[in-house]
Symmetry: C2
Subunit: 252 residues, 2 copies
């Protein structure tokens, strides 16, 4: 046993309490210190109280947040580091685990990862069943990658006929990447390929739209939107976007 | 308003109650009829009672199960069609939505999809953070696809340097596909690429192993195992498998 504390890395799911798990709720309630980006602390405000220390972080200060959470745990506290969605998918888990692994073995806290419903899964359920067979999740953010590397992955997925869920498709500081991604996809997929846009899944102001790759309005997409692009097995059924479970042909 | 009933298509998450959402629990409790493969009904037995009709289905009879669920809803009942994990990801949602879409508009039930934690997310949390940036989910089942199509997707994902989560990697009737998949991956990735095997996540008998692509024991893998294969950004950190959030180089 170590004298260090305990770090839970917790995914809160897409929005309010309905899509949160009991394990996530228990981990937040049991924590003495809760660390997270401000809006994630707000997302679990119904679980926290004045007996807990809340450590809000700024967007973009992820490394500092990971260090804060790990240090509070090595100081002997029970800590919850919270993310929206799943903390392991474009979330805080990777940074936090690397931070823990950098400590001497005797001062490492016990670490527990609590999965959550990630944005692609939440968006899929609002759109129908676009992720029913074989898909990729890619981020369009080029903050931590050269755009050429992002585009290379996009080309590979487009050519492989996989359904594609795009995280971080567009923000004020990254206005052109989604349009460029669409151009790349249109080199491989028909203009009438089904496309789904889900913004603020599970929150107030939730918006769901099924359209086509060609008609998709990139300017209606923001930081809290997930974009799902269909493959050859995907069709529009009324308001739904549904991918077949069977796969008849060899991808080109 | 229609006279037809209501169909909830519910993902129960990977195992017991800890990783189930409140929305999933509410949907099962509110149902008059609960339809699902036997082991999925067992997974939510704590939520059902003698006032409900339980309709167990056999493995492989998915189309019949979808029809049973949709017909019970068109008869005016509140129905929950349950799957393990997320019903939209290799689950029952696609079949059920296609069945509903085939009905005349006036007899269609109201449909509500309730997301759940899918196996890749659950396995990721047990392994560390392998899915931290850009990944694909593929099934190795060739029951609904020619193997050549499955292998083509595998080659594309391997070449694109995406982390890969393999669903349905192996069963008694499909014993060789995982070994073949490994051979394909080894054409593109080093022998010491991190590989994680998670069996029965969140259930009794849960097994978690981090190994390498070359050392992976395919015969230890079964129907309830998810296999996660790392990419160039993935490393083993002690018992964890962690993918970096940054992406430095262009995928070949």
């Amino acid at each position: 046993m170590t004298g260090a504390g305990q770090l839970s890395i917790v995914g809160l799911g897409p929005g309010g309490p309905a899509h949160r798990t009991r394990a996530a709720e228990d981990a937040v309630r049991a924590a003495e210190v809760v660390v997270g980006y401000r809006s994630y602390l707000a997302q679990c405000a119904d679980l926290t109280g004045s007996h807990q220390v809340l450590v809000p972080g700024a967007m973009g200060a992820e490394q500092q947040r990971a260090v804060d959470a790990v240090h509070a745990a090595t100081d002997g506290h029970r800590v919850a580091l919270v993310s929206s969605g799943d903390a392991g998918i474009y979330g805080m888990a990777s940074l936090a685990l690397c931070t823990v692994a950098g400590l001497a073995a005797e001062s490492r806290p016990a670490v527990h990862l609590v999965p959550g419903i990630t944005a692609a899964t939440a968006a899929g359920a609002l759109l129908g069943a676009p992720l029913a067979r074989d898909f990729a999740c890619l981020t369009l953010s080029d903050l931590l990658a050269p755009w050429e590397a992002v585009e290379a992955r996009l080309r590979a997925v487009a050519a492989a006929d996989l359904v594609l869920a795009l995280y971080n498709p567009r923000s004020a500081g990254r206005p052109w990447q989604l349009g460029r991604a669409r151009d790349v996809l249109l080199e491989h997929r028909p203009a009438d390929t089904a496309a789904g846009l889900v913004t603020d899944a599970g929150r107030g102001g939730e918006r769901v739209e099924v359209t086509t790759l060609a008609a998709m309005d990139a300017t209606a997409v923001g930081m809290r939107t997930v974009v799902i692009i269909g493959a050859s097995g995907t069709q529009r059924l009324g308001d739904w976007m549904v991918t077949a479970r069977s796969l008849a042909e060899v991808a080109s």
